[in-house]
């Protein structure tokens, strides 16, 4: 009787085993890559060209976010301060500090300071700062307690599902307009937040976009 199975089937179990191994490895790699905060870069804290401390400027000196991030109320982008903004004060304050050498150099040569970008949404996402800060969404909701950061890092995942969490239930995050730039402000309790949030959502007619065109164009 001839063989029912051709000869090459002898190696089939081994081949299947190797294939399963490769597949398994791919799954493990995929999960570790895509399902960890590293993917969303939470905690990303690159070395900046100047060791700028938000903690000193905001908490110690009491500066408002908008002194440096000028365009935030009107523009989609929150402006990264120009060298001139730094030099407004640092012409007088700490004018010889070695930590500010790079800033002075930029001011003299006219070459901009290449700040390393931390928060970055994909190119097909059109996030708009003005839309948020003018309607009761605080900086802290997306950027964390920047006022306490000695070195700037990414605090929130800023993924689509994370965005939608708030867009679906804005009452959980919304706050009175005069507290938007107070990063230390906290609601009395979760219940109080919900109560206030619901009222604000109703009073201000807030209905964040939940469909594609809100962010993708």
């Amino acid at each position: 009787m001839a063989n029912i199975f051709p000869r090459w089937t002898n190696w089939l179990p081994l081949k299947l085993f190797i294939a399963a191994l490769v597949l398994g490895a791919a799954v493990v790699w995929g999960v570790t890559y895509y399902f960890t905060p590293k993917y969303t870069r939470v905690g990303y804290m690159p070395q900046q060209p100047v060791n700028f401390e938000h903690a000193i400027h905001v908490n110690q000196l009491g500066m408002d976010c908008r002194y440096c991030h000028v365009g935030v109320e009107t523009s989609p982008n929150s402006t990264i301060p120009t060298t001139q903004t730094c030099m407004n004060c640092h012409k007088q304050v700490k004018k010889d500090s070695p930590a500010l050498a790079a800033v002075r150099e930029s001011w003299e040569t006219g070459k901009p300071i290449p700040w390393v970008r931390i928060h970055q949404v994909p190119d097909y996402v059109y996030f708009n700062h003005a839309a948020h800060v003018n309607r009761g969404v605080s900086c802290v909701s997306c950027h964390g307690q920047v006022n306490q950061m000695r070195v700037m890092y990414q605090d929130q995942p800023q993924s689509m599902s994370w965005c939608l969490e708030c867009h679906r239930s804005p009452e959980k995050k919304i706050r009175p307009m005069n507290e938007v730039y107070h990063l230390d402000w906290k609601p009395e309790s979760e219940k109080a937040q919900l109560e206030m949030g619901k009222k604000l959502v109703k009073d201000w007619n807030i209905d964040p976009p939940k469909s594609c065109a809100g962010c993708h164009r």
């Binding site: 059109y126 708009n128 307009m177 201000w204």
Partner: protein, 1062 residues
Amino acid sequence: MKRIWQHPEAEKGKTGKNYWRSLGELSNTPDFRDWLEREFPQGAAEWSTDDGLSRRNFLRLMGASMALAGLGLSACRRPEAHLVPFTKTPEWLIPGKYLHYSTAMPRRNGAMPLQVKSYNGRPIKIEGNPLHPYSMGKSDAFAQATILELYDPERSRSFLKDGKPIDRKTFDEALEQLKQSWSGGADRKLAFLVDETCCPTRERFRSELFPDSIWCVYEPLLTGNSSEAASLAFGGGVKVLPHYDKADLIFSVDCDFLECHDGNLKSIRDFMNGRRVRKPGDKMNRLYAVESHYTITGATADHRLRLPASHTGAFVLALAKELVRSGVESGLAELVSAIDNNPETVLGVDKNWIREAARDLIEHRRRCLVVIGDRQPTSVHILGLAINEALGNLDNTLSVIEKKQEPGWNITELADAIGNGSVETLVIVGGNPVYNSPVDIDWKKLLKKVPTVIRLGMHEDETSALSHWHVPQAHYLESWSDAWAEDGSYLSLQPMILPLHGGLSDLELMASLAGVSFNDSLELVQETFRGVVKKRWDAFKFEEQWNRFLHDGFLEDSAAKVKKISFDVINRCVDFLKRNPLRAEPLAEDRLELVFVADRRVDDGRFVNNAWMQEFPDPITKMTWENAALMSPTTAKKLGIVNETVKGIMMVDKVKISWAGRSIEAPVLITPGSCDFSLALPVGYGREITGKIGEGSGFNAYALRVSDAAYFAVGASIKKVDGKYDLALTQEHNVMEGRALVREAPLEYFNQDPNFTDKMGIDAHAPSGPSFYHVPPMNAPHQWGMSIDLTTCTGCNACVVACQSENNIPVVGKDQVQRGREMHWIRIDRYFSGEDEEDPQMMMQPIACMQCENAPCETVCPVNATVHNDEGLNVMAYNRCIGTRYCANNCPYKVRRFNFFDFNQRPIDELYKGPLAPKGTPELLKMSKNPNVTVRMRGVMEKCTFCVQRLEMAKIDWRAKQGASPDVTIPANSVQTACQQACPADAIVFGNLKDEDSEIAKVKTLKHDYALLEYLNIKPRVSYLGRIRNPNPKMPGADKIGMTTINEMHHHGHEENDGKEH
């Protein structure tokens, strides 16, 4: 199995044949049937194996690229990116926000006032200047396309000496030497050959700096005949300005005033404002058009007469005689009898046509307007003026204003001077005279006689090749200048960006030639401005006035004053008319007429390297990427010339056209509506030296053009040559057949039955009922909707290019257009109607995504990439799209466009190269993109979004401004889509349907508003206003005008509710 939806058939004998879109369709060839019945145009969805990449090769390459991707896994994490702020904070600029600057685009008949949108320091979009009456915020396709012209990677980048690159310093030194050699008043030996930019500073230079030099202005499509006639009739230095807003009857003779070539947007708007019928009883103007080949003016006309361009003079004379016979007195009668040396009738024109038209003119005394096309000779213009004068139109619908430019030498005079050897230095500014001047001027020989030829040009072209020095020219968006608008008002031009390639502006070159020292060309313009305003104000606050001038883009009340001059017809003009008699020579198939026409896409050839202009379909022929000689079906039949559609591609015969000892070869496209034995030759193509886009496209019609027959010539003959030629027409793609798509009626009919659009075609029968599909809730405060008025739409394509610029739409090239893969989000369907193949009526219908509430595309998308939002938009999420193209299959309007290739990443001649071939957009072209719209990649579907980026921006800006307030609805009419903003005729209305104050909410309640394919119950958000024509019932053939849809698709005897029972 594919389910074929059988659209309800039209009644027997009423096949809807009267709306046909091409000759193939009318004759219903088998190939056309095949084309129609396919889901996609032939080839659009197929992988062609003769393109050098077989399936096997493709798989091999794919394998290789997968392997490489594996090796490249190290790049998995996001790369480090940088945020680079300014060092010094620039005034006004907030990153991420647009800035708008006023400027103007120089045009040959007066500049067009513009407002340029600039993003982070780079101009990205052109809009009209809303403050100036010559734009009112509107613009045209040419103005829109100058953004791409600015960023054209093939613009001239360096100074050249005898074709070799040199640096600026060498040129400056040579210029110094040249100037020294002039000492001793050699000015007479300096000649300028300039294009027309209507620039006051240039005129000032001419009179102040070069009073003794030869100054020749040459524009291939500017005759000056009209102003010559005005000068003869009224005395020198004047021109006539028509006022379409005051005219109830416009009689256009070979005059395409609705086309934007001359940039006169005011005429279009004024004319269309007189045509906007909203309810029964509204007044509507009437347009008669006499023309040789179809133009968009002819398409809009209520009565159109086909007449060879060379017969036009005789026709105008016949009209004048008819007017006299019908009782018009004044000087016209004397004039006509004094020059009566002509045959009584114009060849082949119905006498009744002339008689009734003349009577209509007389009935509209002082409220009518006769306009004559610029290409007609001066004598016809004089006759036109005499008719206007006799009808009392002068100072009513036509006024005489001061002309601000002095006439210069004409090009033949300059050529003679060069021939005599009396020119030592020739400065050619702009234009491209070697390519586009009359062929009897032999530049190759002439320029050898000039010791120094300096050429300032934006591209290295035919003229640069014959010049000793080539200087790169700065674009108008890169330079300081000023200009006169057509009405003579004083406009400012300011740079939006520093010259990208270090070019010089015309003013800078002229000032350097004259030895004027300046730091910035701004000073040169300010000097002129000072001169202008000093006359106006005693208290002179320069800074304030200058800033105001720049901000507004023009000087208030600076338009030329209307002159009240009486027209002494007899004394001034009879002699001229006697010397230049008006004749109509008979035409025949061996004695053809040639008409040189401006191309609607590349103008006189200046836009030939502009891919947007090359790819937009000509409004009449729907041709892209090249030109063809146009002739009527009868002429073609007599000459044995055929056009046929082979596998969806228009294959045409090529012919050799001979005239006066010269000949050219050209493909011939048969166009209904052309007059017999007349051949239209669009100029501007067939360039020898230009960039990659323009190279090898079309034939050069200038090669037949001589100085004494520059616009039309009689006596040409043609001979068929071997071989077929393939044209890229968008015409027969995506046909919707036999349904009442464009709906029209004459004004009288509309007055009696304003609801006529609802009683046509299948929609009159279709029951309106619930849908099986679940309609998503649409309860947001904004509900977007659009209405397009088919009466006022001319089909000029301004919207198409505006949309392309706003939405980063790529171009695909001729080959891909032939496969039906063009990407324009708006297509303008052009329909012919009437059973006469020779002389049909024409109508335009712009079609973009209809944003159906019950969108059929949404239900078939397997990945939810196209969904509905609560504002009624059918939104597209590109990053979700996997390219199944189900949506495009299921779209009844065929408005979805698929990226078959990486059109943005690859040059159009390298689309078929494999995945390993180099990719990437040139940096310069990246700068032209709108940063607020995704640049789509291969394999992604796209379509009109109602400019969702503008809507979102408007909403956000409003809410940010209102802050903690419940007022979230943007004010009525505060947002415009790109197409609406560009439309010079204001045919598009867009806005929030929920807002009662908005224009759109009002327009949608009009009786003649209708939706396309309403019976499908998909509830489109875009609707149309039925087209209304205003024929004169006494004219011959008037009973057929505007009646096609009524006769063919209107089912008489149906009550409004009757349809429900079917």
